[in-house]
């Protein structure tokens, strides 16, 4: 949506507020009118010289009716206010999602076009300058890195699409979490070294989780990728992979010494398209999909996720828990 077009949800909110005020005014006016009618009726009965007992009986009935109107009117207003609150909340969420989608388009454009531009430049450099030896090797290494980055991006987009379509068939197998963590850490070793990041592994062997192998690898890969971006953006540091079994589940912790985040954002980090900060001035790149995929996969595996940081610049800790293999039989 162009920033010049009026914000439809704001107009709708104003319309709902106007309806609420109008309805409240209607109810109040109706009650005043009823009261006036009651007073007129009482005056009429007094003039008609009705007996005091009859007058008292009629007055009692009127008071009862007025109370009843007050309750009904109040309840009606309450229901109306609740409806408006629900609608306003829905609209606000929708507008937040729309804003995030716009951010997503901006970041995904950058994330896809940058490696593409780098690939094209390397290919055209080879065609134009015919490099040999070390120069050629350097270009090919760069091209491999760009392809790997594109592969990762496309993978996240496809995972999100499968999750959204709800057609994902997850298998449940006995997996060695230590081995998977080792595989993923190896996958990232070169990239981490290039960026001055050390990956420390303290995952004990023979920690068994009952989960889908592909989904589990994606969860670990996305968490390490996220930690690597955050740590590289801080100019280097350490990523620590640790795990333990507790209370029937197995927890994997990916801690980093990277750029961290505001503790108030811990839950929102797992929302789709969520990216903290200004898209034009981002210190770390990403699409806002990686952690969303982690959360959704973990939920489908009957697991859970959590994130914590002591604040910007103070590193972060991401924990994901799966059911342990003991639950497999249940």
């Amino acid at each position: 949506m162009s920033p010049r077009t009026p914000d439809r949800s704001r107009l709708l909110r104003i319309a709902f507020l106007a309806i609420l005020v109008f309805s409240a005014a209607q109810v109040v006016w109706w009650m005043i009118d009823q009261r006036r009618l009651v007073e007129l009726e009482t005056e009429r009965l007094e003039r008609a010289q009705v007996s005091a007992e009859e007058l008292a009986a009629v007055a009692g009935e009127h008071t009862h009716r007025l109370r009843q109107y007050a309750w009904e009117g109040g309840f009606f207003l309450l229901v109306l206010a609740a409806c408006v609150a629900v609608i306003a909340r829905t609209l606000r969420e929708e507008s937040q999602l729309r804003r995030r989608q716009q951010n997503f388009i901006a970041s995904v454009t950058h994330e896809l076009k940058s490696p593409l531009a780098s690939l094209q430049l390397a290919a055209e450099t080879i065609a134009l300058r015919r490099p040999e030896g070390e120069k050629l090797e350097r270009l090919v290494t760069r091209m491999r890195g760009d392809v790997r980055r594109l592969e990762g991006m496309v993978g996240k987009i496809l995972d999100t699409a499968s999750l959204e379509a709800g057609r994902l068939q997850l298998k449940k197998e006995r997996l060695d979490l230590g081995r998977i963590a080792d595989e993923i850490a190896d996958e990232f070793a070169d990239r981490a070294r290039e960026r001055g990041v050390e990956i420390v592994r303290t995952v004990p062997a023979a920690l068994c989780v009952a989960a889908d192998p592909a989904a589990t690898r994606t969860i670990v890969r996305n968490l390490v990728d996220n930690a690597l971006r955050a740590t590289a953006a801080a100019g280097g540091g350490t990523i620590t992979l640790a795990a333990r079994a507790a209370g029937g589940e197995v927890e994997l912790e990916v801690a980093d010494t990277g750029v961290g985040f505001d503790p108030g954002e811990a839950l929102r980090l797992f929302e789709k398209f969520y990216r903290p900060g200004d898209e034009l001035r981002r210190t770390s790149r990403g699409t806002g999909l990686g952690l969303y995929v982690v959360r959704r996969f973990a939920e489908l595996e009957r697991g859970r996720v959590a994130a914590a940081s002591e604040g910007p610049g103070r590193g972060a800790r991401f924990v994901v828990a799966w059911p342990g293999c003991g639950e497999e039989a249940t």
Partner: protein, 238 residues
């Protein structure tokens, strides 16, 4: 020829920055890489570059802000935006921020090098006779091409943008001749970044507002219907 030309490559994508820098060096330029916005602005302020290749999405400070800040501080180093943000709105924003050209990613190496050469050629033409202290005087106005500053007939200080200064220079060099809109567009932009030559008309309106006593009845910047513009230093009745 390119020996002394220094180019600052502001790009946070390491592979791309290295690839661009290596190609520029292979063409005989000197390339410096900056991957962070604030550091890039510092380098631009320090000066010594003949051209800046500027990405938009940068950590620390975005490219538009770097360009706007540099221009507001009177830094006139040519800037070529090189960015993934390639919509018409983005291009216009980049040019309005004071950029000289805009190349969306992914780009062709040949095109990048051609644009770099065009901008540098345009600037060497501009700098050729723009020695400090050499003033253009017309009517009661004066303008210094080296500092982009001038004074209009009523004594008001006039700080021209690059494009305004280039257009003024083209017109002044060919004084009393009719210069077509296409010629002006070619000299000032080199590429057809704007859809129409009406852009030039807007710049002439701006120059008239700055230097003419009565912009509605110009004495120096004359319209030649259907063709372009003619500049007279002495001043002629419209």
């Amino acid at each position: 020829m390119n020996e002394a030309r220094a180019i600052l490559v502001v790009e946070d994508e390491e592979h791309l920055a290295q690839g661009i820098a290596e190609n520029l060096e292979a063409e005989g330029f000197r390339a410096t890489i900056a991957g962070e916005g604030r550091h890039a602005l510092e380098l631009v302020r320090r000066g010594g570059f003949d051209l800046v290749l500027l990405d938009v999405m940068l950590p620390g400070l975005d490219g538009y802000t770097i360009c706007e800040t540099a221009r507001a501080e009177g830094i006139q180093t040519p800037i070529l935006f090189l960015t993934a943000k390639g919509s018409v709105d983005d291009r216009v924003r980049g040019l309005e921020a004071g950029g000289d050209d805009y190349l969306p990613k992914p780009f062709h190496l040949d095109e990048l090098l051609a644009r770099v050469r065009t901008i540098l050629r345009r600037w060497s033409w501009y700098a050729r006779d723009a020695g400090r202290g050499k003033l253009l005087r017309f009517g009661d106005n004066e303008f210094d091409f080296a500092t982009f500053q001038g004074r209009s007939w009523d004594g008001t200080l006039q700080q021209l943008t690059q494009k305004e200064a280039i257009i003024l220079k083209v017109l002044a060099e060919r004084e009393s001749e009719v210069v077509s809109r296409e010629d002006l567009l070619d000299k000032a932009w080199g590429y057809e970044l704007y859809p129409s030559t009406r852009t030039i008309d807007n710049f002439i309106v701006r120059l008239r507002k700055r230097f003419e006593r009565d912009p509605q009845a110009p004495r120096h910047f004359h319209t030649v219907r259907g063709i372009g513009y003619r500049f007279t230093a002495k001043g002629e009745s419209p």
